[in-house]
C-alpha cells in the first residue's frame, strides 16, 4: 500500500522525472519521496549524491563495514543490479531545496561563521584541515571519493561525525574521517554541520 501511494505521489510530482525502481519505495519511507531526507530521525538526503558513494554505502551496510541495523537488513536484501539501479536513480534526482535546517538546528550566525571557517580553511590549533579539501568546493562532493555535504541535514552530519569520532563508523579510506572527527569538539561539530546544512545544495560551486 505504502509502495503504491509513494509511487503515485512521485509520478504526480514530476512526470518528466525517471520512474523510481520499485525497490525505492522502501527508501522513500525514511529518505523522503524525492530523496530529500527527513529531519525526524536524522535520515540523510540521497538526492543528487553520487551513485558511486551511494552504491558503496549500500555495500558497506550489507557487509557490516558500516554498522546500522536498519540499513544493514535492507542492504542485505539487494542484489548487485538492484543496488546499482537504486544508486543511479537517487544520483539522478535533482537536489531539493534544503529542508528547514536553520530552524531545526537554531544555529547562530557566529556558529555558521565558525563552520564556514572549518569548511574552507580548517583550524591549525587543532591540526584539522579544511573539509572542502576532500568534499569539494562548498561541500559539493567529489564523485568517486567524498560525498556532498552541502544541503545535507545537520542532524545527520552531526550524528555521523560523532560516530566517526567514537569508532562507530570506519568505512572510509585511510581512517581519515576518524582522524578529523577526533579533533573536533561538540561546538565544532554543531558549527560545521549547521554551516553545511545552511548551504543550498542545488547550486554547488562548479567542479
Amino acid at each position: 500500500m505504502k509502495y503504491v501511494l509513494a509511487t503515485l505521489i512521485l509520478l504526480g510530482a514530476s512526470s518528466a522525472r525517471a520512474a523510481p525502481p520499485p525497490e525505492a519505495a522502501t527508501c522513500q519511507a525514511c529518505h523522503g519521496v524525492h530523496g530529500e531526507g527527513m529531519v525526524d530521525g536524522a535520515k540523510p538526503r540521497l538526492a543528487g549524491q553520487s551513485a558511486h558513494y551511494l552504491d558503496k554505502q549500500l555495500r558497506d551496510f550489507a557487509s557490516g563495514a558500516r554498522d546500522n541495523a536498519i540499513m544493514g537488513a535492507i542492504a542485505k536484501g539487494l542484489n548487485d543490479q538492484t543496488r546499482s539501479r537504486l544508486a543511479a536513480y537517487y544520483a539522478s534526482l535533482p537536489v531539493p531545496a534544503p529542508l528547514d535546517h536553520s530552524a531545526a538546528t537554531a544555529a547562530t550566525a557566529a556558529q555558521v561563521g565558525r563552520g564556514h571557517q572549518l569548511a574552507i580553511e580548517g583550524a591549525e590549533g587543532k591540526r584539522v584541515q579544511a573539509c572542502n579539501n576532500c568534499h569539494g568546493p562548498d561541500g559539493s562532493g567529489v564523485a568517486l571519493s567524498a560525498p556532498a555535504l552541502a544541503g545535507q541535514l545537520a542532524t545527520y552530519l552531526a550524528a555521523q561525525l560523532t560516530l566517526w569520532q567514537q569508532g562507530g563508523r570506519k568505512n572510509d579510506a585511510g581512517n581519515l574521517m576518524s582522524s578529523v572527527a577526533s579533533k573536533l569538539d561538540e561546538a565544532d561539530i554543531a558549527a560545521v554541520t549547521s554551516y553545511y546544512a545552511s548551504l543550498s545544495a542545488s547550486t554547488p560551486a562548479s567542479h
Binding site: Q129, A130, G174, N175
Partner: protein, 610 residues
C-alpha cells in the same frame, strides 16, 4: 648582461651600510640557528628542551598547514609548479652557474634544474617524502672501492672520500628520524635477517618502519611483476606521505595521505606529508626557550679578532634594519648551497682553489645523476598517474650503490630504478614518445593518447665528486643586500654518465618485460643544464671528514676552524649516493644533536682535535 647590482633595493638598507651607524646589538643568547627548516627546527627543539636559549632566524615567512597550505589554492599548478612560489626568491638572491671554470657564471633567474625552498619549514615543505637510508658502503666509499676494485680503478680526477662516520654509528639516528616522520615502508633487513617484501640490499635496521608501506599504484604493480621475472628484488618505496594515522614521539598526530598527487613543489594540505610543520614545529614554538624571527636575512657569522671564535651573526630584517645577534654557539642549517655561501661570506674555512686543489670550502660539490625510462602501452592499460603520492613507487636497489659488481664497468656508483609516478598534473605531466611534434594538433593528440597509458621510471643515480666541480663566491654578481652570490661550477663527471648509460639499459629491460609497446630509455647526458628539472639534491661544499685538509667540518659537523660553528646540511656529504639525501640528513641532525648535548655544550671546544 650588466653587473647585477640592485641600486633601488639598496636604498632601504640601514645607514650602517654607508658606515654611518653600527648595527643594533641585541641581547646575547646561547644558540643562534640560521635557517628554520628541517635541520634547524629539529636542533632548536633539542637544545631549547635541554634548557638553552635559542633564536631561530628564518629569511622567509611564517607559514602553517592552516591556512597557508589549504585547497584549492595549494593545487595551483601555475603558481607553484611553473612559477615556483615556494622557492628562494631569485629576483633578490639567485645563484650563478657555469659548466667549466673557463666560462663566466651567469645568474639563474628562473629556477628549473633544482629548487631551493624558503620560508618556515624550508625546502622540506615542498619535498616528495622519499625517505631513504644510505648503505654502510656509502659512508666508507673511498676505502671500500679501493679494497674491492683496486687502487687504479678510479678516475684520478675523482675526489671520493670517507665520511668519518659509519652507518652503524648513524643507525639509531636514522631510526629516530624515521619515527619522528612516521615513514611508511617495509624493512628488508632487520638486524641482519632478510625480510621478504623489503629491500634485501639495505644495511641492517634495528626495527621496522613506524607505519606500513603506502598502497601500490598500477604502474608499481606492473614494475613489480616485471622486475621479479628478471630476478630483481622489488620493494615499496619508503614514503613520508603516511599510509595510516600516526602519532610521533613528540606527540604530534599526522593523517593518512589521500594520493592527491601534489607533493613535490607543493605543501601538503592534509597533515599527511611529514614536514617540520607536522612533526616538530608546534612543539618547538611552544617552548619559551625558543624565539622564531622570520624575514631575517643573515649577512654573515661574526668572528672575534682571532678568527677562531664566532661571536654571533649579523642580519637585516624586513624593515631593513641591520641587527647583531650575539650567541655562544652558531648553527648554520641552510639549504646545502647556502651553507657554503654562509661560510664564504663569513670567512670561515679556506676557500677551495681548483687549480692547486688546496682549500676546502666549496670543494666536492656534487649532485644527483637522474635518468628516465618511459614505457608506452596500448590504451587498454590504464595507469591513472594522477592517483599518486610523491613516494608511492615500487623500486629496486639491485643496480644502486655497490650492490652489483663494477669490475670492468669503468665507473663507481649506481641508481635505484623505480616506477615512481609522483603525479599526473595537467600542465607539467604529458609523456609522449620520440618523434612527437612539440606543439600543435600533433602534440595535443599524442598527449591525449599517452597520458593515461604510460609508465615512467625514475633512475636515481649517485654523483661522484671531482676536482673540477666546486662552488665559490661570484666575482661579479651580488644579491639585493650587496653580497656576492654563490657561483657553482659543475658538469657531469664521465664516471656518472657511464653509470647512467649502464643503469638505463637495465631499466629498459624492465620496461620491455612489462610488455610495453615502446620503451624509451633516456640516460642522463652532459652538459649539465640549469634549464631542465632534474632534482633538488645539491650536495657537498662543506664536507665532513677526519682530515682538515680535505674537509670543512669534523665528523660531528663542527667547523675545524671555528669550533663554535656547526654546519649542518647535505653540504656535508663528501659525494652523493644513489638515494634521496633527506633521510641521511635527518640521521646526521640527530647525530649532531647528541654530540652537542652530551659533549660540546658540557665542555665547549673542538670535539676532534684538528
Amino acid at each position: 648582461m650588466d653587473g647585477g647590482t640592485y641600486t633601488s633595493i639598496r636604498k632601504f638598507r640601514h645607514p650602517s651600510a654607508e658606515g654611518v651607524t653600527v648595527a643594533q646589538r641585541l641581547k646575547e643568547v646561547d644558540v643562534v640557528v640560521i635557517g628554520v627548516g628541517m635541520v634547524g627546527s629539529i636542533l632548536a627543539k633539542e637544545l631549547a628542551a635541554a634548557g638553552y636559549k635559542v633564536v631561530g632566524l628564518e629569511r622567509g615567512a611564517t607559514r602553517f598547514t592552516v591556512p597557508e597550505f589549504q585547497s584549492p589554492g595549494i593545487h595551483d599548478e601555475l603558481r607553484f609548479d611553473v612559477r615556483k612560489a615556494l622557492m628562494q626568491d631569485n629576483t633578490r638572491e639567485p645563484v650563478t652557474f657555469r659548466n667549466h671554470s673557463s666560462e663566466t657564471g651567469l645568474p639563474i633567474r628562473r629556477w628549473e634544474s633544482f629548487l631551493p625552498g624558503t620560508g618556515l619549514g624550508g625546502s622540506m615543505v615542498h619535498w616528495n617524502g622519499q625517505t631513504f637510508r644510505f648503505q654502510a658502503n656509502d659512508f666508507e666509499l673511498a676505502t671500500r672501492t679501493r679494497e674491492r676494485y683496486g687502487k687504479g680503478f678510479l678516475d684520478p680526477d675523482l675526489t671520493l672520500q670517507d665520511w668519518g662516520v659509519t652507518y652503524d654509528e648513524l643507525e639509531p639516528h636514522y631510526d629516530r628520524f624515521e619515527y619522528l616522520l612516521g615513514t611508511s615502508g617495509k624493512a628488508g633487513n632487520l638486524k641482519g635477517q632478510i625480510q621478504p617484501g623489503g629491500d634485501p640490499h639495505e644495511s641492517p635496521r634495528s626495527r621496522d618502519y613506524p607505519t606500513p608501506p603506502q598502497k601500490e599504484h598500477y604502474s608499481g604493480a606492473l614494475f613489480r611483476k616485471a622486475a621479479t621475472s628478471l630476478g630483481h628484488h622489488p620493494f615499496p618505496q619508503p614514503s613520508s606521505n603516511l599510509s595510516q594515522p600516526y602519532t610521533n614521539p613528540e606527540g604530534l598526530k599526522m593523517n593518512t595521505c589521500v594520493f592527491c598527487g601534489f607533493c613535490e613543489r607543493y605543501a601538503c594540505e592534509h597533515y599527511a606529508k611529514s614536514t617540520p610543520q607536522t612533526f616538530i614545529l608546534p612543539v618547538l614554538l611552544a617552548n619559551s626557550n625558543f624565539e622564531l624571527r622570520t624575514g631575517c636575512q643573515v649577512q654573515r657569522i661574526n668572528l672575534d679578532s682571532s678568527k677562531k671564535r664566532a661571536t654571533g651573526v649579523t642580519y637585516i630584517d624586513n624593515a631593513g634594519r641591520e641587527l647583531e645577534q650575539p650567541a655562544s654557539l652558531v648553527i648554520t642549517s641552510l639549504f646545502a648551497i647556502n651553507n657554503i655561501r654562509m661560510l664564504l661570506l663569513s670567512g670561515i674555512g679556506k676557500p677551495y682553489d681548483p687549480v692547486t686543489g688546496k682549500g676546502v670550502v666549496g670543494r666536492n660539490y656534487a649532485y644527483q645523476t637522474m635518468s628516465t625510462v618511459a614505457s608506452f602501452f596500448d590504451e587498454d592499460v590504464i595507469i591513472n598517474p594522477f592517483m599518486a603520492s610523491g613516494a608511492s613507487g615500487t623500486m629496486i636497489n639491485d643496480f644502486a650503490g655497490d650492490n652489483f659488481d663494477h669490475s670492468g664497468l669503468g665507473f663507481v656508483g649506481g641508481a635505484f630504478i623505480g616506477a615512481v609516478n609522483t603525479n599526473g598534473r595537467p600542465i607539467q605531466y604529458h609523456p609522449t614518445p620520440p618523434g612527437t611534434p612539440t606543439w600543435g594538433k600533433g602534440w595535443k593528440d599524442a598527449v591525449v593518447k599517452h597520458y593515461n597509458h604510460t609508465v615512467m621510471f625514475s633512475l636515481h643515480g649517485s654523483s661522484v665528486s671531482q676536482k673540477q666541480n666546486y662552488a665559490d663566491l661570484d666575482p661579479t654578481y651580488k644579491d639585493a643586500w650587496g653580497q656576492p652570490l654563490l657561483r657553482i661550477t659543475f658538469d657531469f663527471p664521465k664516471n656518472d654518465l657511464k653509470m647512467a648509460e649502464y643503469v638505463t639499459a637495465r631499466g629498459v629491460e624492465i620496461g620491455k618485460a612489462m610488455g610495453a609497446k615502446q620503451v624509451v630509455g633516456s640516460p642522463r647526458k652532459g652538459p649539465y643544464t640549469t634549464q631542465q628539472y632534474q632534482t633538488t639534491h645539491n650536495t657537498g661544499g662543506t664536507v665532513m671528514g677526519n682530515d682538515p685538509s680535505t674537509s670543512v667540518v669534523n665528523r660531528y659537523l663542527q667547523s675545524w676552524d671555528v669550533p663554535n660553528v656547526f654546519v649542518i646540511g647535505a653540504s656535508a656529504y663528501p659525494q652523493n649516493a644513489s638515494w634521496n639525501p633527506t633521510g641521511t640528513l635527518g640521521a646526521l641532525t640527530y647525530w649532531v644533536a647528541d654530540a652537542l648535548k652530551s659533549k660540546y655544550l658540557k665542555s665547549p671546544g673542538h670535539l676532534v682535535s684538528p
